[in-house]
């Protein structure tokens, strides 16, 4: 159950699993308590999920690189 609750907190479950966990939480006080304890385990991850910024032209350079490769291959 712990793994599913953790997955629920991480939003890593699929729809069916999420539905089952929600049902469990609605019916089971122990599960709700466990969920609150597990919530603390996410503390070290913080709340920031910011992604590293790529150089502004990375995608464009990649498209050119692949276009050139494609052209070379077709010769």
């Amino acid at each position: 159950m712990q793994t599913e609750l953790l997955g629920y907190l991480l939003n890593a479950l699929d729809e069916e699993e999420t539905r089952r966990v929600k049902q469990l939480l609605a019916a089971d006080e122990t599960a709700r308590q466990q969920l609150e304890v597990l919530r603390y385990s996410l503390l070290p991850l913080g709340s920031s999920k910011s992604l590293d910024e790529p150089p502004t032209d990375l995608a464009a350079r990649t498209c050119i690189f692949i276009s050139e490769t494609r052209r070379t291959q077709s010769l």
Binding site: N11, S41, G46, S48, R61, F65, I66, R70
Partner: protein
Amino acid sequence: MVTNAAQQSALPPADLSDEELLDRYRDAGDVDAFERLVHRYERPIFSYLARYLRNPTLAQEVFQQTFLRVHEKCDLFSRGKRLRPWLYSIATHQAIDALRKEKRHRALSLDEEHGVGDADPSKLMSLLASRLPTPPEELERRERADWTRRAVDQLSDNLQVVILLIFFHGFKYQEAAEALDIPLGTVKSRVHKALLTLNEAWWKDHPHG
């Protein structure tokens, strides 16, 4: 050929799914569809690679190699499958290959971060900007984020990658299993182990919470 952001309006509609874009490229040679995919994943894949490789410069090279492989292997992508795990799987394999080639795994040197021959003036501005006074809340948030980044970076590769995918990139357990080509149970146990490790480090560094 699309070469800059201003020309992106020529790309196919943004609401096409990843899979539809790849289908267009594979089946009809629609280069614009492929380029839409490259632009769509520019930030997430670059960020994933930069964290995984711990080297933004190498991440750029691997980003290009990743999409070259997508171009070369798009015929092998199974219809009905989700593209995102497949894409991250390719990126991960390319990153592992790059680390092997470079033999620089876990060996970031001070020179790499502050190369003596690097005279880019914007770096000085960045350095100075980082020294400007910061409001206390912002400082706390930044310190917290820095701690998390360092702690995640210190995880073993196997543990780090599941945290990157699931926490930072919003993957489901199943998608992470597909991307890393490992059993679902292994993903779950690695998440558990990673959190255990992070919590041990957290409480060691923050004994009073």
